[in-house]
C-alpha cells in the first residue's frame, strides 16, 4: 500500500482512539455533572462529588480540545463541513461546555445557596447537553447530512437545525448520555462513601441496562436504514477532492463491512459485553472494575460506528457523491506524517503524567476533605 494510504488509515484509527478518549474521559466528568444534583442532595454532598473530579476534569477536557484539533489537522474538510453545517447544534454544545470551567472554578467562591444552586444547574446542563449532541452527531452521520460543495469546495448546508434532532439522532444521544451517566456514577461510586455511594450505585445499574437496550435498538434501526456505498473513487492514498467519486445508496448498506469481514462483529459484541459486565461489576460495588468495563463499552460502541461507516466520515444526504471519506477529506501526506511524529512522541508522555496525576490524587473523598479545602482557595 502507498505510504499516504497507510497514513490516512492510521489517522482514521487515531481519530477513533481520540473519540473514545473523549467519550471516556470527558464523558465521565459530564456524567458526574449530569447526576450531581441527584446524588448530592446537600451542599457538602455535592462538594464531595465535585471534589472527586475537581483535580482532573480540566486535564480530561483536553481530550476534547485535542479531538477537535486533530480533526482540523488531519481531516480539515470534516472539521470545516461538520462544524459549520451543525452550526446551531455546535453553538449549543459550545455554550454548554464553556459553562463548565466556570461551574468548577467559581461555584465555591460564594457561600450563597442561590449562587451555588445556579452553578449546579450549569454543571447539569454542561454535562447533559454536550453528551446528547455528541451522540446525536454520530446518529446523523448514519443518516447523512444535507451539504454540498461548490467548484472551489465552499460547503453549503441546506438543512434546518431541527432536522438534526431526528428520532434516530436522539436515540444515539440518549445512548451517549446513558453511557456517560454510567461512567459518572461509577466514578462517584469509587470516590465517595455512604449515601452518595448508594445513590450512584443505583444510577450506575440503571444506566448500564438502559445503554444495552438503546444500543440494541440502534443496531436494528441502522440495519433497516439507507446506507452509503462508494462505487467509484480515485482510491485510497490518491490526492483528490470530493467532486470525483460516485456513491450509491442502499438499505442495509451500513452492514456491508460486517458481512465482508465477519470478525468485525466482535466490536459490537465488545460494546454489549462492556455494558453487561459493567452492570455486573457496578452491582458488585466494584467501582474501578466497572469503570474499565464502561471504557470497554465505549470502545465497542464507537468502533462499531466507525467500522460501519468506513470509508465514509461524513456522508452527504443532499449529494451522496460528494460525501466525505477518509480518502478525500484527509490532509496531505506531509502533514499527516508530521502530526504522526508529534503524536508518537507526545501522547505516551501525556498518558504517563496523566496517570501520575490520578495516582497522586487516589483515594476516597470525604466531607473532611472539602471542609479543609474551604480555607485554601
Amino acid at each position: 500500500m502507498e505510504t499516504y494510504a497507510v497514513l490516512q488509515l492510521l489517522w482514521w484509527l487515531l481519530l477513533g482512539v481520540l473519540l473514545i478518549a473523549v467519550a471516556v474521559m470527558v464523558g465521565m466528568d459530564m456524567g458526574v455533572g449530569t447526576i450531581l444534583r441527584h446524588v448530592g442532595r446537600t451542599d457538602t454532598e455535592r462538594r464531595v462529588v465535585l471534589r472527586i473530579i475537581d483535580p482532573h476534569w480540566e486535564g480530561n477536557q483536553v481530550w476534547f480540545v485535542l479531538g477537535g484539533g486533530a480533526v482540523f489537522a488531519a481531516f480539515p474538510l470534516i472539521y470545516a463541513t461538520a462544524f459549520s453545517g451543525f452550526y446551531i447544534v455546535m453553538l449549543l454544545l459550545l455554550w454548554a461546555m464553556i459553562l463548565r470551567p466556570l461551574g468548577f472554578g467559581y461555584r465555591d467562591h460564594l457561600a450563597s445557596a442561590r449562587w451555588r444552586g445556579m452553578w449546579d444547574w450549569a454543571l447539569f446542563i454542561s454535562g447533559l447537553v454536550p453528551m446528547v449532541v455528541f451522540g446525536a452527531a454520530f446518529g446523523n452521520l448514519f443518516l447523512g447530512v444535507p451539504f454540498d460543495f461548490s467548484w472551489n469546495l465552499t460547503s453549503t448546508y441546506s438543512g434546518s437545525f431541527i432536522a438534526l434532532l431526528n428520532p434516530f439522532a436522539i436515540l444515539c444521544g440518549l445512548l451517549a448520555v446513558s453511557l456517560a451517566v454510567f461512567m459518572g456514577a461509577v466514578t462517584v461510586m469509587k470516590g465517595a462513601e455512604g449515601v452518595i455511594h448508594q445513590r450512584s450505585h443505583r444510577l450506575a445499574r440503571h444506566a448500564s441496562l438502559l445503554a444495552i437496550v438503546l444500543f440494541a435498538i440502534g443496531g436494528i434501526w441502522v440495519y433497516t436504514m439507507q446506507g452509503f456505498v462508494l462505487t467509484q473513487s480515485p482510491g485510497a492514498g490518491v490526492p483528490q477532492t470530493p467532486l470525483q467519486q460516485m456513491v450509491s445508496v442502499a438499505p442495509g448498506a451500513w452492514f456491508a463491512n460486517f458481512r465482508g469481514q465477519p470478525l468485525l462483529w466482535l466490536l459490537p459484541v465488545l460494546g454489549l459485553a462492556g455494558m453487561l459486565l459493567g452492570f455486573l461489576a457496578a452491582n458488585a460495588r466494584r467501582g474501578l472494575l466497572a469503570w474499565w468495563f464502561g471504557a470497554l463499552a465505549w470502545t465497542g460502541v464507537i468502533s462499531t460506528a466507525g467500522v460501519a461507516l468506513f470509508p465514509f466520515l461524513l456522508p452527504s444526504s443532499l449529494e451522496p457523491a460528494q460525501s466525505l471519506t477518509i480518502w478525500n477529506a484527509s490532509s496531505s501526506e506531509l502533514t499527516l506524517l508530521w502530526m504522526l511524529g508529534f503524536t508518537v512522541v507526545l501522547l505516551p508522555l501525556v498518558i504517563w503524567y496523566t496517570s501520575w496525576a490520578f495516582y497522586i490524587m487516589r483515594g476516597k473523598v470525604t466531607a473532611g476533605h472539602v471542609e479543609s479545602d474551604e480555607h485554601d482557595y
Binding site: P55, Y79, A80, S84, P101, S331, Y353, A357, D376
Partner: protein, 532 residues
Amino acid sequence: MFELSVVELSRWQFAITALYHYLFVPLTLGLSLMIAAMETVYVTTGKQIYRDITRFWTKLFLINFALGVATGLTMEFQFGTNWSFYSSFVGDIFGAPLAIEGLMAFFLEATFIGMMVFGWDRMSRGQHLAVTYMVALGSNLSALWILVANSFMQMPEGAFFNPVTMRMELASFGELIFSANAQAKFVHTSIAGYVTGAIFVAGISAWYMLKRRHMELARRSFRMAALFGVLSTAGVITLGDALGFVGGQAQPAKLAAMEGLWQSEPAPMPFNLVGFPSQKDQTNYGEVQIPYALSLLVTHSLDGTVPGFDELEKRATQRIRNGIPAVQALQTLSRNPGDATALEQFRAHESDLGYGFLVHRYAEDVGAATDAQISQAASDTIPHVATIFWSFRLMVAMGLGMLAFFVLAVIYSLRNDVQHQRWFLRVAVWMIPVPFLANEFGWLVAELGRQPWTVYEVLPTWMSASTHSVGYMVFSLAGFVALYTAFIVAEMYLMVRAIRIGPAAPDDGGDGSGAAADDRHLDGQAAGYAGA
C-alpha cells in the same frame, strides 16, 4: 455568492470573542510564571511568607484562568463553525500547530493545574514546585503554537497551493514553525503577557500598601513584580521593533496603515507622530511629523524607504490582473482535473491566485471583470488606516508609559520606600487596566492590519467565512454577547472580592496600629530581602 453582511457579522463575532479571550490569556502567561518564581523562593528559602504569597496570587490566577479556558474553547470551535472555507483551504497547514498545541501544551497546563490546586498536601515541596513550572511551561508553549499558526496567516511560509486538492498544503514544516515572523511574534506577545502579570501584581500590591494591609506580602510581591516588569517591558519594546521590521517587509500595507503613509516619499522619510487619517480623501489631517524618523524606525537606516498606498494600490492592480487567469484555470481544473492547458495556465499565474480571488468578490466571472471592479478590488487592499494608526500609537505609548512606571517602581522598591510614595502607589493601581488595553490594541494592529486577507495575499477574508444566514449569525452573536457579559460580571465580582478579602494569612496591618506594624516589618525585612 452569499451576502457580505454574513462575512461582516462573522468578523465581528470573531473579533469580539478573540479580544475577550485575549483579556485573560496574557495574565495567565505572566502570572503563571511569576507564581512559579514566587514558589521557587518559597522552596529555596523555606519562608512561610512566600508560601502565602504563592497561594494568594494562585487564588487570583485561578479566577482569571477559568474564564481563559472557557473562552478558549470558543476559539477552537470558531474556525470551523464560522470560517469553514478558511479551515478547509488552509487546514492542512493551520490545523497542525493547533493540534500540537493541544498535545504539547494544553495537556501539560490542564493536567498540572489540578495538581497545583489540590496537590499541596499530597506531594513534596519540590514536586509541587515542578508542577507549578509545568503549568507555566504549558501556557507559554500554547502561546508558541497559536502564534505559529497566526504567523502563517500573517506571512504564509512553508506552504503551496495544490490544484489537485484545491487547497493550500504544507511544503516545509520547518519553514512554518521557524518563520522569522512567528519567532518575533511569539516573544513579543508572550512577554507582553509577563508585563501584564507584573502590572497586575504591582497594582494590587500597591492597593494593599495604600490601605496598609498585608504590608509584608504586598512589598515583597511588589518588588518581584517591579523587577520582572522592567525586564519584560524592555523586552516587549525591543521585540516589537523587531516584529515591525520583519512584518513591515512581509506586509507593506499593514506598515503603511500603521504609519498613515498614503504617498510614497523619498528617503529619509518623516514619521507621522500624530494625525487624523481619512480613508476617503487618502490623506492625514493635522499631521505632526518627526523628520528622518520613519526611515530609521522601519529600515534601521537613513536611506531606506517603504512604499505608500499609492504605490501599493498600483502593485495590487497588476497582481489582480495577473491573478485572474489563475482563478479561471482553477475553475477548469475543478471540472476536469486532467486538463493540461489549464494546469499550465495556473502554474504561470499561481503567485497571484489570492489577488484573483479578491476581484472574484465583485465579478462572478472573473474573466469579465471590468476596470472599475478591478480598481475596487485594488482599493480593498488598503486596510482601515485610522483604526490601525491610532491603535498602534496607543499601544506604543502605553508600552513606553509602562517602562517608565517600572523604572520608577524598581528604584523606589530597591530604596525600600515605595510604601511612602503614596502618589506612586495610586498610579500603580491605575496602571492595572493599561497592559490589558495595550494587548487589545496590539491585536487590532496585527489582525486589522492583515485585512482584506485571512491569509496574507493568499486567501481573502470575504471568501473565508461559512455560508450561514444572517439570522444564524445574529442569533450566535447575541448569544455570545449575553453569555460573555454575564461571565465578565461574575469574574470581576469574584476578582475584586478576592482582592478585598486578601490573603488567607493573618493580616499584618489594617488595624489602628497598622502604620506602626509596617515600620516594624520594614526593619525586620531588610535581611529577608537580601536573602531573597
